[in-house]
């Protein structure tokens, strides 16, 4: 029997994601991929998939999924209170599902996005080297769109790697949540006055309802650039870049961002904190604090090393 999953209910926004589409940013192609790439990798490791296998990224309210054939699965990231049939299951553990079993979610307890990995990985066609869904262009993933009730997604053959059983607990989102997001200065920090920079590092911002996989819009406090410094020549923006249009409300560039932008880049979020920012939802508040470059690199490399050691693929 060909193994697959059937989406019975889609939830708010469920998409197929992996680690994104790299190598084409010079042509204007967004990277995309999982917002919380750490949780996606951990979920894959738990079921014995390569770290970058395609998973379901579910947002706020989870989907209802029926398994066709047997499969191992795991859930990492937001705690949306998962259930297998009528039994409560937990995040960050591997489970086995039998043919006809149903995975559903009772509702959010913490976080915003959860990653459902299934042994073998979701077998949608690769597009430019990735299975991730690019919503802005309607490309990749499952038919270039969010999952809908009735979709059947085939699974790849499993058994490539062994499930990883010794993941250190501190790597999981629940044990590692950050309230303050570390940032470093951006190329146009001198476009801003002392007050704006001080405000960025001390004030509490609110994540606006206009936020999405492309960017997080922040509101509540304004940090406008200096007079006449509202635009820059269009330039590249790495994930986590904080741009500030002349109105003063910052925008943090996230996974599905455009490759370039035209607003002053005041700061950039440390790579190690991007997963935590991705787990914050509209309406929640966020604070920023400064991290030194060498410290940011040290922390990022520590995580990367751990992942590589536990699962080389």
């Amino acid at each position: 029997m060909n193994r697959s999953i059937i989406i019975e209910e889609a939830g708010l926004l469920s998409t197929v994601q992996d680690l994104g589409r790299t190598g084409f940013q010079q042509y204007g192609m967004p990277v995309g991929g999982a917002m919380d790439s750490l949780s996606l990798q951990l979920a894959n490791m738990l079921v014995g998939n390569p770290r970058g296998a395609a998973c379901v990224e579910a947002t706020l309210s989870g989907p209802q999924i029926r398994f066709v054939g047997t499969a191992r699965f795991a859930i990492c990231g937001a705690d949306l209170q998962p259930m297998l049939n009528h039994q409560t299951v937990q995040n960050n553990r591997m489970y086995s599902a039998s043919d006809g079993d149903r995975l559903s979610f009772q509702g959010r307890k913490s976080g915003f996005r959860t990653y459902i990995s299934i042994s073998g990985g979701l077998n949608v066609d690769q597009l430019m080297g990735s299975r991730s869904t690019l919503l802005t262009a309607g490309l990749g993933g499952f038919k270039g769109r969010p999952l809908q009730a009735g979709d059947t997604i085939p699974l790849s053959d499993d058994g490539f790697c062994r499930p990883v059983t010794n993941i250190p607990a501190f790597l999981f989102y629940e044990n590692n949540r950050q309230k303050t997001i570390s940032i470093m200065p951006g190329p146009e920090i001198h476009y801003f006055g002392f007050d704006a920079i001080k405000t960025l590092l001390t004030a509490e911002f609110t994540i606006s309802s206009g936020s999405n996989r492309m960017g997080y819009r922040l509101e509540g406090v304004r940090i406008p650039p200096l007079e006449g410094k509202g635009d820059i020549i269009s330039s590249a923006v790495p994930a986590g870049t904080i741009q500030v249009p002349s109105g003063g409300y910052p925008i943090v560039m996230m996974a599905e961002r455009q490759t370039t932008g035209g607003y002053p880049r005041i700061a950039v979020v440390a790579g190690v904190d991007l997963p935590f920012l991705s787990q914050m939802m509209p309406g929640e508040s966020v604070r920023f604090s400064e991290i030194k470059l060498h410290k940011a690199i040290e922390r990022l490399c520590e995580i990367k090393k751990q992942l590589q050691k536990l699962c080389p693929l």
């Binding site: 597009l127 430019m128 490309l139 330039s235 590249a236 790495p238 455009q258 490759t259 370039t260 440390a270």
Partner: protein, 241 residues
């Protein structure tokens, strides 16, 4: 061409470094960016993941597990100073056929009215220049073109359209461009090309790259329809310098 001056390199977060080549939009700055990009690519620095050129900068994504930013900066300086401009790929001109006006260019008449020209004059001026692809961004395959004649410059539409087809050719301010994918937008649409600039399923998904030149060539409705049905590979001509 003499070797480069020492480029200005700075960290941009923990996984990228930024090289600033100038403060303006000019062919000279563009050439410096292109030279840097090609020399860095030829140097094959371990740990470099991706390079993204823009008008006056080059962003280099790297894996901090494989290379330290100081080591990367040294390697970039070494690559930049070892390089000369004759190693740049030969510039190319890509000829983009365009059906101007009518249903395919619904704003051609408006552009003519706004610029005080006749529609034919707008077409003649638009198809009479070579446009340099300074950079790509905004959406997959979108080219930022330089070199439009200011006589046909005109404002965006007061009311943006919800849907503009892939291949639409438009004007916005002093810029002209081609929509590579269907999207909403406020550009004045003067024509449509049957050429696909972005083919995600192809081995080479992008027809154009930064550093290329583009020329637009007016075509008739019958040629447009034939190209649409039969498919069409545009002419790519080496530029004689």
């Amino acid at each position: 061409m003499p070797p480069f001056e020492t480029p200005k390199i700075s960290a941009f977060g923990d996984s990228a470094v930024l090289i600033k080549a100038g403060d303006d939009i000019s062919q000279e700055t563009h050439r410096v960016v292109q030279n840097l990009m090609h020399s860095i690519q030829q140097y094959e620095i371990a740990g470099v993941e991706e390079v993204v050129p823009s008008y006056n900068e080059l962003l280099i994504y790297y894996n901090p597990l494989l290379i330290k930013p100081e080591v990367l900066a040294d390697a970039i300086r070494a690559a930049a100073t070892s390089h000369t401009s004759n190693q740049l790929p030969h510039p190319r001109t890509i000829v983009i056929p365009v059906l101007y006006g009518g249903d395919h260019g619904p704003d051609l008449q408006d552009v003519a009215t706004l610029t005080g020209l006749s529609p034919d004059e707008v077409v003649a001026i638009h198809s009479g220049s070579n446009y340099l692809v300074y950079m790509m961004g905004f959406s997959p395959g979108f080219c930022y073109l330089g070199g439009m004649d200011t006589r046909i410059a005109c404002n965006r539409k007061a009311q943006p359209r919800f849907k503009i087809e892939a291949g639409a050719v438009g004007i916005a301010g002093r810029q002209t461009g081609i929509y590579p994918i269907e999207s909403p937008g406020g550009w004045q649409i003067i024509g449509q090309t049957p050429v696909k600039l972005f083919r995600p399923d192809a081995a080479a998904p992008f027809l154009v790259q930064a550093g290329d030149f583009i020329r637009f060539e007016p075509i008739s409705p019958s040629v447009f329809n034939r190209m649409k049905i039969e498919g069409f590979e545009p002419a790519i001509i080496p530029v004689n310098e």
